[in-house]
Symmetry: C2
Subunit: 398 residues, 2 copies
C-alpha cells in the first residue's frame, strides 16, 4: 500500500483551487484546507487536475521508438503498408516486448494512464506480438492499465490459419477481438465479421473493428457490424475505429448510420485524421454516442508521426473538427479522457471521491488552454503513485 | 558589426557534419575543420542546421499572447468573427504594438527569421494596427525581417472610407496590398479587386489576397485575380492565401485553375487547415508553383490555436497532405523555409556561402525527424547574432 498523498492547491477540471487526499491509491477526500498528518504533501501550485488521459487506439507492438530514424518505405495503399510492415518486422527486429514497453513509458510521461492496444495476429509473426505485449502489461501492471485487442492486421479470410491464431490469442488473455476492413482488405465481409463476432460471443469479449472503408462501402460494413451487434445482443460492447464513412459528405446516409450506432450504443474511435474524412465529434456526442480517441501507430512503418501525447491529440481533434469555443475544446479533452474510459473495461475512473487516483496535473489557466498549449505535465499519478514529473517518466525506458 | 562566429559540428540540411564561419552577419565559409582565430566558437554537437523558418502569413497586430486566457466568443461564420473582433479590439484593449512585439519574440524562440504579416486596416481601428506593427518592425529590425500587407479585414466595398485608408497605409510603408473574399465578404468582386490591383500598380507593390471562398465561387474569384495579374503585368507578384477552392473535389476545375496560377507565377499560401479543403501541396509543387505557409492568427479572437512554431506547422502540413515518406516531409519543411522566402522580398536567403546567416540549429537525426518531433531549437541566429537558445528567445517580451 502506497503512503497517503495530499495534493495541495490544485484545480480539478479548471475549477477553484482545492486540496485532494489520496489513500491506498484512491481519492479519499477533496476540499480546501485538508489536513492529513503523515501524508506526503505535493504542492500543485494552482495546476489544473484532470483524470488520466486515455489512449483508446494504438499499436504498442510495433512502434519504432528508440530504434533510430528509419525513412518510410511503404507505398500509398493500405495493402502496401501491410506488406512492408510484415517484411520490416523481421528485417529490423521490431521486438514487441521492448517496443511496447518504450511506448508505455512515453505515454506515461504525457499523462496517459489507460491504453487500448491492437496487437497484430497474423501468419508472419503468429502470437509473438501478443506475448510481447502481455509481458509489458505484466511488467507495468502498477503503472498502466492496458487492454489488448487481438487484431488480424494482415487479414483473416485471405490468410489461412489466422482465425485459429486469433482464437489462441483470446485464450492467452486478449480483452477483445479486432477486425479490419471486411470488404476492402479481407474481400469477404460476411466471412470476416462472422468469425470476429463468433469469437466475441464465445469468449464473452468486446469487439473493436478498424474501418477505413469510405463512403458507401464503409456504410455497408457498418450495417453488417450493426446487424451482428443486434443479433448477438452485444449492445454497448462494440467499437468502430476510424469510421471514415461517418465523415462522408452524404449527410443523409451518415444520419441513417448514426441512428443504428446510437441505438446499439456502438462506440466510435477517431484520431481526427487531417487527411481523411472523419466522424463529426459534436454531432455524434449530441446523439449520445460514446466517442474516444487515440494516437494510432506512433512512429512506425506506417508513418513517422505521433508522440503518444493525448493532450496534443485533443488539440488535433479540435483543429480537425473546427472547435473554437472553450466548451468545444473541452469536448475534445473529454473524448481523450472520459470518452476513452467509457469504452474500456476498467472501473473507478474519474476525479470524484472513491475513484482511482489516476490523474494529471498540468499548468494552465483553463482546460482549453491546457489543450491548445499541451505543456509538459507537472505530475502524473497512477493509483496515487507518481509515475511522471515535469514531462519525464519516472520509470526507466528499456 | 558583430564578431565572427564559428559554428562547429553542424549538419546543414541533415548532411555530413561540418563547420560554418559567419562574418558580418553573412555565411563566409562552410567546411570541415575550419579555423578562425578570434571568432566566437559555438559547438553544434551534431545538430541539424536549417535556414531560418519563414512565417509567410500571420496577423501580428491582434494576437492575444500574454493577455491571459480569454474564451472564444464569436459565432461560426466569418462575418461573426469579423464583427466580434472589431468589438473586442476596443473592449479588451488589444494593443497592436505590444501584441506584435510579443508574437515576434515568440516566433524568434521557434526559429522564425522572416514574417509576412497582414495588418487590419478598417473603419474601426483606422491605421492604429499599421502604426503599431511599424513600431515593432523598427524595434526588432535587427532580429526579424517583417513584411507588412495592408489588409482590409472588415471589407473594402462594404466599408466606406477603407479604400482611402488602405492607400494611406501604403504611404506609411506597407510592403503589399491585401484583399479578402471579394465575393463572399465584400459582395462586389470587380470593385474590390480593381481597388486592390490599382493600389498595387500605383505603389509598385505585390498583392496577397485571403481567399476562403470554396468551390466554384473561389474559382471565380481566382480567375478574376488571374485576369488582373495578367493585364497589369504582375506575374510573380501575387499571392493567394488559403485558396480553399484548390482543395475542391472537382479536380478538373482545380487543374484549370492551376494552369493559370502556374503560368502567372501566382504563389499559394496554405496553413494546412485540418477542417477545410486545402491546396494539395505536392501537386502544386510538381507544377512549379511557389507554395508558402504560415500560422495565420495565433491565439486571437478568431480561435485559440497557434504557437508560432513553423517547424510544427511543417508537421501539420504533412499530416494534412498525408506526407509519409522523408522526401515528402522535407517538402513540407521546404514550404516553411525556402517556399516562404521565395514569396517575400528579402534578399540573401539560404545556407550557402554569401547568404545571410539566418539559421536554426535543431537536434535530430534527419530533417524529417526534426519536423515530426519539432524539439526546442538549440540555437537561432539572425544575421549571425544569437536571438534564441534552447527554445527561449534571448530578447525580452513586452
Amino acid at each position: 500500500m502506497t503512503q497517503a498523498l495530499l495534493l495541495r492547491d490544485i484545480r480539478p477540471m479548471g475549477g477553484p483551487a482545492t486540496d485532494m487526499l489520496i489513500r491506498g491509491g484512491i481519492i479519499a477526500a477533496i476540499g480546501p484546507g485538508l489536513e492529513a498528518p503523515g501524508a506526503v504533501v505535493e504542492e500543485g501550485r494552482g495546476a489544473l487536475a484532470i483524470p488520466g488521459l486515455v489512449e483508446a487506439h494504438t499499436h504498442l507492438d510495433k512502434s519504432l521508438l528508440g530504434m533510430g530514424w528509419r525513412p518510410h518505405q511503404a507505398g500509398p495503399a493500405l495493402a502496401d503498408k501491410i506488406e512492408t510492415e510484415r517484411r520490416l518486422k523481421r528485417e529490423w527486429g521490431i521486438d514487441p516486448a521492448r517496443q511496447s514497453a518504450r511506448q508505455v513509458v512515453q505515454s506515461l510521461s504525457h499523462g496517459t494512464t489507460q491504453i487500448r492496444t491492437h496487437v497484430d495476429i497474423d501468419d508472419a509473426v503468429g502470437l509473438a506480438g501478443m506475448e510481447g505485449v502481455l509481458a509489458t502489461r505484466a511488467a507495468y501492471a502498477e503503472s498502466m492499465d492496458i487492454e489488448i485487442i487481438a487484431f488480424p492486421q494482415s487479414g483473416l479470410m485471405i490468410r489461412p490459419g489466422v482465425a485459429a491464431m486469433l482464437e489462441e490469442a483470446m485464450r492467452l488473455g486478449a480483452d477483445g477481438v479486432g477486425g479490419l476492413d471486411p470488404c476492402a482488405i479481407d474481400r469477404d465481409p460476411k466471412g470476416h465479421l462472422d468469425i470476429v463476432f463468433d469469437l466475441a460471443e464465445r469468449f464473452g469479449k468486446p469487439v473493436d473493428i478498424h474501418l477505413h472503408e469510405p463512403g458507401l462501402l464503409g456504410a455497408f460494413s457498418t450495417e453488417l457490424i450493426a446487424e451482428r451487434t443486434r443479433a448477438l445482443g452485444l449492445r454497448g460492447r462494440v467499437t468502430i475505429s476510424h469510421a471514415f464513412c461517418l465523415g462522408d459528405a452524404d449527410t443523409a446516409m451518415v444520419e441513417r448510420l448514426l441512428d443504428q450506432i446510437a441505438e446499439l450504443d456502438i462506440a466510435i474511435m477517431t484520431t481526427g485524421s487531417a487527411s481523411r474524412p472523419v466522424p463529426p465529434i459534436a454531432r455524434l456526442r449530441a446523439r449520445g454516442i460514446r466517442v474516444c480517441s487515440g494516437s494510432d501507430g506512433i512512429r512506425d512503418t506506417w508513418g513517422p508521426y505521433g508522440n503518444a501525447d493525448m493532450l496534443e491529440r485533443a488539440m488535433l481533434l479540435g483543429l480537425r473538427n473546427n472547435f473554437r469555443r472553450d466548451d468545444e475544446v473541452e469536448m475534445a479533452l473529454d473524448v481523450c479522457t472520459r470518452g476513452g474510459a467509457a469504452v474500456m473495461g476498467f472501473e473507478g475512473y474519474g476525479l470524484s471521491v472513491g475513484c482511482n487516483a489516476d490523474l494529471v496535473l498540468v499548468p494552465g489557466e483553463s482546460l482549453a488552454e491546457a489543450v491548445v498549449s499541451h505543456p509538459p505535465r507537472q505530475l502524473v499519478l497512477k493509483r496515487g503513485r507518481p509515475v511522471a514529473r515535469d514531462g519525464a517518466a519516472l520509470l526507466p525506458t528499456p
